[in-house]
């Protein structure tokens, strides 16, 4: 089974028939850029395997999936495998852990690296033992000859340095049918610690002599520190321009001291933020940078109907339950940082820029934080900790953000305005699609700008300007334009991104990036076009889809959901939506059932997805369900609010998220594709879930709500 169109973010082919004769064949995933085999795994004489990827655990279960892959390729029991947290001084640089690419990038690399390690050991053991290579087998790390006798093991060769080589390309990982561990529901390696309350999070790390700091943020955007209070007893102030911190011997003292200092510090403040209701107009008024993504003229047939619709998604907060945290230690040797960043190498670079310290003198170690759904404050708090540590050389410093900092100062998911103009023939057939996206970019991660992207860098006495958010290139899945290209057959196609070059609120990557608003827009318009042509929305979509894997997930979810319940038209409705994430990732179709009384409640979700090979079906289903439940929260509740000075939704009361009593029942079905490349599952359900809810609201109430979130206010406005 192959996809209908090539993955736009696939690397260009470099096979022997197109590349120069001397070009080595491309290695899978992140191995291409990190070819040293010993960077990927270590074999220990006591009979253990340590896998050392550059991707990091962000709550998605990647450590477990990588251990499963390694167990299969090495022929070693799953229980012997552990996965080491990444660090910049020895791990392969795998870029950012994002975009649902952990299994694609790291999984395929680990699979190939372990297959190579096995092949190398087989060759050496065959030569030493005189047993022909083809009659050797590997059982739980031991090499066994045809007579059943052990003739060697990984553990016996652990000190032989066999992995100190460039990873050979001419090894073949096992076929899907031979995998025993990958493809099964192996239990999460990290979960027991979390269920028994063990000190597993970065937040729980303690070093000898550690001090505890809290940051006193400016009371509003661009406020300048004018006068400092005395340091409270037992506390020391650390100041650099408008960066202000207290450092104490304990966390409790630091929290108390921060409150007292915040009450007494004096700041010069002014209004800097636009009125929220004007945001959409300002997006259009500019200044903007316009990038054409697609521009294909139609066949010129006169349309019977034209549908124009405008959609709006507000700023969104990551809203993790654990606030951002970092530990830093400054010494003569340089700076050591422990961080739950998604991109430790890029963080090292931006820390170097902000601190004017060569990156070689900085080591960033990854440690697990609370759930990560994109570029949150993890990188920012690392600079906070480093700035305080610089003032307390030799003493490790831990900084944990307050809840107000977390919801008020971390980068936000970008607000976007999307306009669609669709032209159709009399029977509803699509003739042309015009799609424009306005608003801020979705990328302010470290590593992409000349100046550091870290929050405190713009508060220093010699400040760095905060870089305005970019959009990732379309080849990498795009940002604001992510999923802006409909999967549906159409004649003309015009897609443009108008990136706003002002950034009153810092924006960056939040789960699914632009896909949330674009899939909402596309699927809402498709629903509307179907009904206007008197056609069934499912049949209408299928009539515009050639990709068999797209059709398969839609047909599967319709079968899962079964016939709609009674009570339709009395405030109960169902809606369907579909997207292939990034146009190159997992296919996902969702049916939502809602009831609309005073508020909209989502009763049920049915989800069918095709993510290619699935290393851990339980984990993948959980990622999809989690993404969908978070999307319900976003669809019904979430919006960052602000006044002229700053963010007003900086508490759980003012930024509510979905609660246990509001969570719908969710059914997930993964279509089995063990031979197809793995595609990742973390983000594929986000857009389709939001859009399916919107279509279900229309089914229930007869109104198209095009502004997120679908609150009573926004529904009332849509009703006019």
């Amino acid at each position: 089974m192959s996809s209908a169109r090539p993955a736009p973010d696939a690397a260009p082919p470099r096979s022997a028939d197109v590349g120069p004769p001397s070009a080595p064949p491309r290695l899978p995933g992140s191995l291409e850029a990190n070819r040293r085999l010993s960077q990927w795994l270590r074999l220990l004489p006591e009979g253990r395997v340590v896998v050392t990827p550059g991707k990091v655990e962000i709550g998605q279960g990647i450590l477990t999936a990588l251990a499963q892959i390694a167990a299969d390729e090495l022929d070693v029991d799953f229980a012997r495998i552990s996965v080491e947290a990444a660090a910049t001084d020895h791990s392969p640089n795998e870029g950012v852990t994002s975009g649902s690419r952990s299994v694609q990038d790291s999984g395929l690399a680990v699979r190939h690296a372990c297959a190579a390690a096995r092949a190398i050991h087989l060759g050496v053991v065959a030569q030493r033992s005189g047993v022909p290579l083809e009659s050797l087998r590997v059982e739980d790390g031991t090499f066994i000859g045809p007579d059943g006798r052990a003739v060697g093991s990984y553990w016996r060769e652990a000190a032989s340095g066999l992995l100190e080589c460039d990873t050979p390309h001419d090894v073949a990982p096992k076929p899907a049918a031979a995998r025993r561990v990958a493809g099964t529901a192996a239990p999460r390696l990290d979960l027991p610690d979390k269920v028994f309350g063990a000190p597993r999070f970065l937040h729980d790390m303690r070093l000898p002599g550690m001090m505890f700091a809290r940051i006193i943020r400016p009371p509003s955007r661009e406020a300048r520190l004018e006068a400092l209070p005395e340091a409270p007893a037992g506390a020391r102030l650390v100041v650099d321009g408008s960066f202000l911190a207290v450092v104490c011997a304990t966390e409790a003292e630091a929290a108390g001291a921060a409150t007292r200092v915040a009450a007494r510090a004096r700041w010069a403040e002014r209004d800097t933020l636009p009125p929220a209701p004007e945001l959409a107009d300002r997006f259009r008024a500019g200044p903007v940078e316009t990038t054409p993504i697609a521009d294909r003229p139609g066949a010129g047939a006169a349309p019977a109907r034209t549908l124009r619709a405008t959609f709006f998604r507000p700023y969104m907060a990551h809203a993790s339950i654990g606030t951002c945290c970092a530990v830093a230690r400054w010494s003569e040797a340089g700076l050591e940082v422990w961080s739950h960043s998604q991109s430790i190498f890029a963080l090292r670079r931006d820390l170097g820029l902000a601190l004017r310290l060569p990156a070689e003198r900085i080591v960033v170690h990854h440690r697990e934080g609370a759930g990560c759904y994109g570029h949150n404050g993890a990188d920012d708090v690392a600079l906070d900790a480093a700035l305080v540590a610089r003032a307390t050389p030799g003493r490790p410093v831990r900084v944990q953000w307050s809840r107000e900092d977390e919801l008020g100062w971390a980068p936000f998911g970008a607000a976007n305005l999307v306009t669609v103009e669709a032209e159709v023939a009399e029977d509803g057939t699509l003739l042309s699609w015009t799609h424009d996206i306005y608003g801020n970019g979705h990328l302010s991660r470290p590593g992409f700008s000349e100046t550091p992207s870290l929050l405190a860098a713009s508060h220093l006495a010699v400040p760095f300007p905060a870089p305005v958010a970019l959009n990732p290139a379309p080849a990498g899945g795009g940002g604001a334009d992510r999923n802006a290209m409909p999967a549906y057959r159409t004649g003309g196609l015009s897609v443009r991104v108008h990136r706003w070059l002002e950034m009153p609120l810092r924006t960056s990557s939040f789960r699914a990036l632009g896909a949330m608003a674009n899939v909402l827009a596309i699927e809402s318009v498709m629903d509307e076009l179907a009904l206007a042509a008197g056609r069934d929305p499912v049949a209408y979509r299928l009539a515009h889809l050639d990709d068999p894997r797209a059709r398969a997930v839609i047909e599967a979810v319709v079968a899962m959901a079964g016939p709609p319940p009674g009570g339709r038209g009395e405030g109960v409705g169902r809606g369907l939506a579909f997207a292939r994430y990034k146009g190159s990732g997992a296919w996902c179709a969702v049916v939502a059932e809602v009831e609309a009384e005073e508020r909209v409640r989502v009763r049920r979700l049915w989800i069918a997805a095709d993510a290619g090979e699935v290393v851990n079906p339980e984990g993948a289903a959980h990622q999809i369900e989690g993404g969908a439940v978070q999307a319900v929260s976003i669809a019904l509740k979430e919006e960052v609010t602000f006044d002229g000075r700053g963010v007003t939704s900086n508490s759980w009361d003012t930024y509510p998220i979905l609660r246990f009593s509001e969570v719908p029942a969710v059914s997930v079905q993964l279509l089995p594709r063990p031979e197809a490349p793995p595609l990742g599952t973390g983000e594929c359900a986000t857009g389709p879930t939001v859009a399916a809810i919107s279509n279900a609201i229309h089914d229930a109430l007869g109104v198209r709500v095009r502004t997120l979130p679908f609150t009573p206010d926004n529904i009332a406005q849509a009703m006019g």
Partner: protein
């Protein structure tokens, strides 16, 4: 000043300022890191402990107020070798993603099962409504609590 109370079935004495929030006293005074700090405003449930059997947030509960009382934290529910049925059920259901919310949820659920051994799904949802989860693990968590309830009553899951 020394504050004495019962923690997880054993007496403890802590020499910390009486206004220290219990969550910090547990974490930095006693090295029990299972109780997580999430908001400091009793709004997320990550720091739930049982105080004389009742689930309460420990981020605003000062040490002085627990003197002479019984406190149970997630570490007091069970251990890897002697797990609480809830901990067993959470592992069986793989109920958790990032896991930061789990300690508080386990504590709230333990209080529920002591009060109502046979809760229905609605009762579980209600009991956990003060605990926030951002990863969307809610449905697995609900299944795990129901599974633990069944196993505690001796009913096969």
């Amino acid at each position: 000043m020394t504050v004495a109370f019962e923690l997880n079935g054993a007496p403890v004495m802590l020499d910390l300022p009486p206004e220290t929030p219990l969550v910090h006293a547990l974490r930095d005074g006693l090295g029990l890191f299972g109780t997580r700090w999430g908001c400091g405003a009793e709004a997320c449930g990550a720091c739930m402990v049982l105080l004389d059997g009742q689930p309460v947030p420990s981020c605003t509960l000062v040490l002085d107020a627990v003197a002479g009382r019984r406190v149970r934290s997630v570490e007091g529910l069970g251990t890897p070798t002697a797990p609480h049925p809830l901990q067993t059920a959470f592992l069986e259901e793989q109920a958790g993603q990032c896991g930061y919310c789990l300690s508080g949820i386990l504590v709230s659920a333990a209080a529920l099962l002591e009060r109502i051994p046979d809760p229905d799904e609605t009762a579980v949802r209600t009991a956990l409504d003060g605990n926030l989860c951002r990863c969307g693990a809610h449905n697995r968590i609900i299944r795990a609590v129901l599974r633990a309830a069944a196993s505690m009553r001796g009913v096969p899951a």
